[in-house]
């Protein structure tokens, strides 16, 4: 099965069809998606600024990172789940959308970032507690994290600006030309 036929199949399932057909489901899920991003974003900002030594300096690094770990995961999960609902509902359009693939690539980079710095930064946060100035790799991890999340937001917004050439859309013909679906 090609990726395109997978996209066409997934958006034709009952769940994603329901999301696409309802006038309010899409904006409601989009709102939750953005709430997840905003809540996650605030926490990513504060933990990265702590690593950069620009905020919460009186609090131990391990304390800030440790306390935000669980809520960050919760709001990332919220954003991802809503993202899957949004993307699945328009999977065929998104298959042709270069900004969607840009966003997915940045998401992959964020996952790689987490894996790369997990051992050397996030699990060793307690070692940095008494340091006045944090090591270069820690500050690099924080700055690159902020950069990647910023790119993620921009790529996400850009998805809505790309118009797929209408003749490419199977669903368009089902709906308008053949009066089905």
């Amino acid at each position: 099965m090609s990726l395109l036929s997978f996209a066409q199949w997934i958006q034709s399932t009952d769940l994603f069809t329901a999301v696409r057909m309802s006038w309010y489901a899409y904006p409601v899920i989009l709102t939750l998606h953005l709430c997840g991003i905003a809540l996650l974003g605030g926490m990513v900002l504060m933990s990265d600024l702590r690593l950069l030594g620009m905020a919460m300096r009186e609090r131990p690094v391990s304390d800030v990172i440790g306390q935000l770990r669980v809520p960050k995961r919760i709001f990332l999960t919220l954003a991802v789940l809503c993202g899957i609902l949004l993307a699945g509902a328009k999977a065929e359009e998104y298959y042709y959308n270069p900004f969607f693939w840009t966003k997915m690539s940045i998401l992959a980079l964020i996952a790689i970032h987490a894996l790369v710095f997990r051992g050397s930064v996030f699990k060793k946060a307690a070692e940095f507690d008494r340091m006045k100035k944090l090591p270069g790799r820690v500050r690099f991890a924080a700055a690159s994290s902020l950069f990647l999340w910023g790119c993620m937001v921009c790529a996400g917004r850009a998805i809505g600006y790309y118009d797929v050439p209408i003749d490419k859309l199977h669903a368009f013909f089902l709906r308008h030309a053949w009066g089905m679906g």
Partner: protein
Amino acid sequence: MLIELANPIVESPLTFPVLECIHILGFAFSIGTIAMVDFRLMDLWMTHQTPSQVARDVAPWTLFGLGVMLVSGPMLFASDPDMYYLNRSFQVKMVLLLLAIVFHYTIHRKAALSDAAGARAKLIASVSLALWVGVIAGGIFIAFV
């Protein structure tokens, strides 16, 4: 004559999307950091610090985010003032935004700085979160009503 004046926001097709990205980052910073105080007032997270400590730690970044939001927002509005003015979702959003900002710098701030606890603190935190979620919803629905 007026009609011939070009609107700088719509002059380049990139201006609006770039402003939107800045707007989203601005509200992520402000609403995300306010939510950290809310979650502390709810005794959910950041419990190693007192509410007043969390509030003081995040306050400069909340203000920074609000500043970015309140500069980029009116610029987005200026791209098509008539449309926004008449848009029901935009009208609701502006009322909620005003309430949210006033609430944040009065009742919410007082509760956080006085280390309020218990049901009253949880109620204030819930109202704060609900207002800000409402502001986001109002923004999203502008394009859908």
